[in-house]
Amino acid sequence: MELFTIYLPIAGVHFNVLVLLLIGFTVGVSGGFFGIGGAWIATPALNIFGLPMPYAIGTDLAHVGGKSIVSTMRHGRFGHVDVRLGMAMILGTTVGMEAGANLVLALERAGLAESVIRKAYVVLLVLTGTFVMADYLIHRRRQRRAAAGDPIPPPRAALAHRLQQIRIPPMVDFAASGIRCSLWLPVLVGLATGMVASVFGVGGGFIRMPALIYLVGCPTAVAIGTDLFEVMITGAYGAFTYGVKGRVELLAAMWMLLAAAVGAQLGTVAVKYVRGYSIRLLFAITIFVAAASVALKQLGLQLASSITILAAGIGISGVIIAQLVQGVLDERTGRHGPSTAGAGPGTSPPA
């Protein structure tokens, strides 16, 4: 293993290249597939393998910027990036992050920051995961009823649909998403998600992606691509600011990006072969694992927390690649159609 060990002069540590490649690949696959940066996998993983936490954060942010370019380019070619929507979200996110920082200060003043934030983070993850999972299960039940020929009650107007009906000028067409709504809707959603991300000290992709689906009304694939567009810009800014502060180990980031680019390409192309609801199911599972990891950290089990999240990342990446391979094989045999992860045998495809 000595052969694969390199010296990282900025952090002043020796690190195994294979570990960097593994972490990069895992984060690349899941990031490209779910539309997230993946800092919650990469940062603890880099840290447990020996990179000091400040460098782990900066190095992860730097490679996220590069990796998101790969994913955004591919999603863009698939028609999954709504640039106009992304810009509106960025506007709101920027303000929201500032507001979130002020909220953290208020909690600091009340002496509640540490305890409240981490507990609230776990609750938010569990709620998000539960909401997405419930949505998936309702969708599956409707599918089964349709397959059995049972009458299906008309679906209730989704929250996103109701929000789109609010006519506050300027009304904007978001062509790539196929929606028309007030500009204030994505701005305010960006503001809310930015605030939450800032309070919890995370990139926020895991909140923005479901928010784009359930609040703005984006199709799943467009939510992923548009979120990655935003991650690309925030990642580039993060890379710069951490670089200037001397907290980026560029050599490590380059090795990670080599593997992350391949992973991001695979994860992004996999979106094409997996139905939106199946992506939501995998996303919900990932969110639950992240919640478990944060809960373990809260209990003081730092190592168990990091190992849990890294193992889950590798597992989820394996599932995504399996879905991709299956999709490509089906395409070649002329049975092209997005697969339904988690769908049992004998179920009909979604209507």
């Binding site: 002069p9 910027g65 591919r74 502060k245 001397g246 560029l250 380059m254 990006l257 979604p350």
Partner: protein
């Protein structure tokens, strides 16, 4: 330190009374706002530093040891880091963006060569 700031900010009744008293109250509360602003900035900086992203530390901290490094990429990076953090930060962005672009195009090509259909994708919910 955060407790000291809490004490500083805890009792805002006089300031509120001043605000109620009209325009002069608003101006009178300006120093307090400035204090709060500075405190907020300072707290933010401390938090960022705690997270690893604070202001550049002294050169003794932000210094890469190049003595044992052979000439090459690693040494060049370390020397750039020691020379100027601004230039290093800029290099990080340029390298990451450049690598992202090149690798994106390269992996795209490889996927196409493997026979994966990379045309515009239909959306399936």
């Amino acid at each position: 330190m955060s407790r000291r700031i809490s004490v500083l900010l805890a009792d805002d009744r006089p300031a509120r009374a001043e605000r109620r008293s009209g325009a002069s109250g608003r101006w009178a509360s300006l120093p307090r706002r400035v204090t709060v602003g500075i405190a907020a900035l300072w707290l933010g900086a401390v938090q960022a530093l705690a997270a690893g992203g604070g202001r550049p530390a002294s050169s003794a901290v932000n210094h890469a040891d190049t003595s044992g490094l052979a000439p090459g990429l690693t040494r060049s990076m370390a020397e750039l880091y020691n020379h100027s953090l601004w230039l290093y930060g800029l290099t990080v962005v340029v390298v990451m963006a450049g690598m992202g672009l090149v690798l994106g195009l390269l992996t795209d090509r490889i996927m196409a060569m493997l026979g994966v259909d990379l045309g515009r994708a239909a959306r399936h919910e």
